[in-house]
Amino acid sequence: MRRTILSSMFGLLLLCCAGISWGDNPDRELKRSGGIDRTTWIDHDKQPITQPPEWESNYYTGMFRQAITDPLSHAFDIPDKLLIIPRSLGAKTEREAVNVNAFDEVPNSSWFTNRNHLKAIPPNELRKGPTEVVLPKKPWTIKHAKAGGQTAGFQIKDADGKKWLIKLDPAGYPQLVSGADMVSRTLFWAAGYNVPNNQPVRFRREDLKIDEDLLKGNEDGEQMRESDLAAVLERGARFPDSSYSALASLFIPGEVLGAPSMQKRRPGDANDWYTHNHRRELRGMYVLASWLNSWDAKDQNFLDVFVPTTKDSLGHVDHYVLDVGASLGAAGMGAREPWHGYENTIDWGWMARRLVTLGFTVEPWRHAHGDPGIPAVGNFESAAYRPEQFKTLQEQPAFRAMSDRDGYWGAKIVASFSRDQIAAAIDAGGYEDPKAKQYLLKTLMERREKVMRYWFREVAPLDFFEIKDGRLKFHDLAQDVGITGPREYLVQIDSEGKDDDKSGAYRLKSPELPLDNITSDATHLELHLSIAGSKAKPVKVELSRTAGADWVVTWIRHG
């Protein structure tokens, strides 16, 4: 009897697990008319769907999960420990990102659009960002208080009837958060992510009026009296002429669905095929966030918006990087705290190190002296910066899942920004202090170099392969960006076809490989390219002959 009960319970548990896994599988709703094409540069994920229900990743649940549950789960993840054995024998058990095309790139989608690393954005366009510069026209009517976040502010309707969120810079630090947000969001946009239309603004008390309903107390029980507004403004930074320094963020058009979870898909979104922590653009974002010191990249700083596109209210979900103000040297309350970017809020690893060393361990951030005495910059530096040691406040599941391949892709995007482009992004911050601009440019360039040196040492930065004049040509990105001189490359070739005698290893003195000299009869080549004398992981490139006997690149994988 007891055995029967136990067996039934076991079976029930299995059914529950199976049910959970089936219930979580969106395949049943998918439209598969377009099929799968690994060579596509467009991931067609904006197919018309009904509006998904509002669902938001909860901040406190996420905090508890990432601080307590996940570390414990990982500590007691027995299968993961078992996999150490095959891993030590060379088996690859880590899961690579899913939404990657045959050329090791991320196709355009509702999350990401290939921009600067494939076609450089002219600096004057980059400075403008995603849209033409539109500023909130005064006077501003305050409709609501600002909910959440550390910065003070309010929601307004401008003289043109547009809705904006106004975020004040912290008292004593004019242009600190607004400047950091503008620089970072401009670079995030140029990298390929969707960002809102933000603008740095300055205003005076007389530019504001409190909405009549809000003054009396609106239907939601919300009230803002003159004294409440004075208290909000008290927390804001002012310029020498007494005007306030702030960031204005235009409301994103569409129906707000809430913050997505980086750990799973959005419920009800049939276009959302890939678990978010297996998306390349979210994993590789780590490198960009590390470069820009975007230390608060939590779920709540992303936003999903439903955009109706048809008459019958069908539409798709767009995914935005919403708030990157906590970056560079900025924090909501003032200059960034020294440990921001170096430790999680609850960092068990560092706590354990301090415990066993009786507090005598010296954390890297204690050596990071990043306060140049410029209020608009806050606390930002490059000397102690180590690109691979960057940490966000809450550990991001997508960042944790990042592989070397994803990291290399992120580094490629960071490396694609030229000095002129970075200067243009800093210009978008509207800094009034020229010292702030100079310091940020110098620091970002130094950090960029560290990012490139680290990742291009891990993975051979050989990219952008093309067949030209019977040769396979490629770029050595490290050489292109000037961190190394001319060098030699090693190619291991495996061929398929009538004549495979030419299979073997070759040494190249320049980034090109004459194909016809190597093999005349092969129909398929598999090349493993590496850098002579370097331990960087090689690049795998596959070539096939077309019907017209021309070679085409069919597959690329870095690392």
Binding site: L13, L14, C16, C17, P26, S33, G34, I36, D37, R38, T40, W41, I42, D43, H44, D45, K46, Q47, P48, Y60, T61, F64, R65, I68, T69, I78, P79, L83, R95, V98, V100, P107, N108, S110, N114, H117, L118, K119, A120, W273, Y274, D347, M351, R354, L358, G359, F360, A415, S416, F417, S418, R419, D420, M445, E449, D463, H475, D480, V481, G482
Partner: protein
């Protein structure tokens, strides 16, 4: 045609010119080394275009996807399923805790500034691990009296510990303020081991203590660390046969050998207490001195009630070890009671004993009773975690303690020692949380304390 030296000079000049012609662009290249490749046409330039960049096709048009939806590989599912089944209860527990944190996390992590008005809720009081009380709370701010705070908690624990506590403070954190505390506390299983430093642990017994207390304080000084308090109030205590634990006191000690057992005492008390701190950080001091004192006189209301003085002198000192995050902290405390001339006999429950702020590391609470009590403790504290106003320190401690009937009876030979470690979470200048595991002469003891403790 030209003299030899002219030809030589000519070659030199041409050579130098050529060298300069080659070197200048080389220098220019060096200057535009890392990333400053504006003038070249490679990757990372402002004119860069990758070979065959993607077109601008709209993802909303019908078309293919780049990959199938992702799911766990079959081998991984097969490997993980047995563990998922085994750990299913833990996952349920974790999800439950996450839901709880979703509900109360905001209040815990980002408490909103208190707003005026009356609020009713549920409160928890943890006396010890098995003495967790839950009950209703009423909190009011600026209710009837401006700049006032009112609090009422009534709780009943799983060990039948009943507690009611009322607090009212007016002009808190002002130069002059007032505080009223009233409490009723009934615990049916308080410990008693006998009176003196040498009582054996095997004499552990239990009794019921009912404690009613009301105290008003006039506060001078806005900071609790720089404050003098004039206090006065009423105290009634009753010690009788207990329950929820065995053996009972009368099963271990003859009734007549335990002064005050079976009866009650009613006292009026008055006096002064104070804190005088010169420390560099109110929550986690690393340098400075903190002196504390309490002087009270108790007057029995009835003839059978004792008249006595009660005192506490305490000093705390802090010295950093090369950095404020590593601190050596020392504490010395001397507390006691002294009956006045002609007083009735002191009941055992009003003697000095190790409990609350005077707890001994490595010994159970109320392990020792006597007229006087002394504590000497040294700690090494080091910071593990610091976020905003919260700081978690690890602590290694060594403590000497003793109780004695009078001051000259304290002897080095009779000292009790304990050593151990723990954690100290600094919350505010009034409150911190300590979890200590210490080994005394009688074994290991785990203690959890919350309040204004060392």
């Amino acid at each position: 045609m030209f003299p030899k030296y002219c030809r030589l000079h000519g070659f030199l000049i041409v050579g130098l010119f050529l060298a300069a012609w080659v070197a200048v662009p080389a220098r220019a290249n060096m200057a535009s080394s890392v990333g400053d490749s504006t003038n070249s046409t490679g990757f990372g330039d402002t004119t860069w275009t990758a070979p065959d960049p993607p077109g601008s096709e709209d993802p909303s048009q019908p078309g293919p996807r780049v990959a199938e939806p992702d799911r766990d590989p079959t081998w991984e599912t097969a490997l993980r399923t047995p563990f998922r089944v085994v750990f299913f209860p833990m996952r349920l527990l974790a999800r439950g805790m996450e839901l709880g944190f979703k509900q109360f996390g905001g209040e815990l992590m980002s408490p909103k500034p208190p707003s005026p008005g009356v609020k009713v809720g549920v409160g928890i009081y943890a006396g010890s691990a098995n003495d967790v009380a839950i009950g209703p709370t009423v909190k009011a701010r600026d209710f009837l009296i401006p700049d006032s705070k009112f609090g009422l908690f009534a709780g009943w624990s799983i060990t039948d510990h009943r507690r009611i506590k009322l607090t009212e403070s007016i002009a808190d954190r002002q130069p002059i303020g007032f505080r009223l505390i009233g409490s009723y506390d009934l615990k049916p299983n308080r410990r008693f081991f006998g009176i003196g430093n040498d009582t054996p642990e095997s004499q552990r017994s239990y009794f019921r203590l009912e404690d009613i207390n009301a105290e008003g304080s006039l506060l001078f000084g806005s900071s609790p660390l720089q404050q003098v308090r004039l206090v006065g109030g009423y105290s009634a205590m009753t010690a009788k046969s207990g329950w929820k634990a065995e053996p009972l006191l009368t099963e271990v000690f003859p009734r007549e050998t335990v002064p005050g057992y079976g009866g009650s005492t009613h006292e009026l008390q008055y006096g002064a207490t104070g804190d005088f701190a010169m420390i560099n950080n109110d929550v986690v001091p690393s340098l400075g001195v903190h002196l504390r004192t309490e002087l009270r006189q108790f007057q029995g209301i009835r003839e059978s009630d004792p008249d006595f003085n009660q005192w506490l002198f305490e000093g705390r000192g802090y010295v950093p070890v090369f950095a404020p995050r590593r601190v050596i902290a020392v504490r010395a405390a001397w507390a006691g009671v002294k009956p006045l001339a002609g007083s009735a006999e002191m009941p055992f429950y009003r003697l000095a004993h190790n409990e609350g702020a005077l707890a001994f590391a490595g010994y159970s609470s109320r392990r020792f009773h006597d007229n006087q009590l002394a504590i000497l403790r040294a700690e090494y504290r080091w910071e593990l975690w610091e976020r905003r106003e919260w700081t978690l320190d690890a602590v290694a401690l060594y403590e000497l303690t003793e109780v004695a009937p009078f001051s000259s009876a304290f002897t080095w030979d009779k000292r009790r020692t304990a050593y151990g470690g723990g954690f100290r979470l600094g919350l505010s200048d009034r409150s911190n949380v300590r979890l200590d595991l210490a080994k005394g002469d009688e074994g290991l003891h785990l203690t959890l304390r919350i309040g204004n403790i060392f």
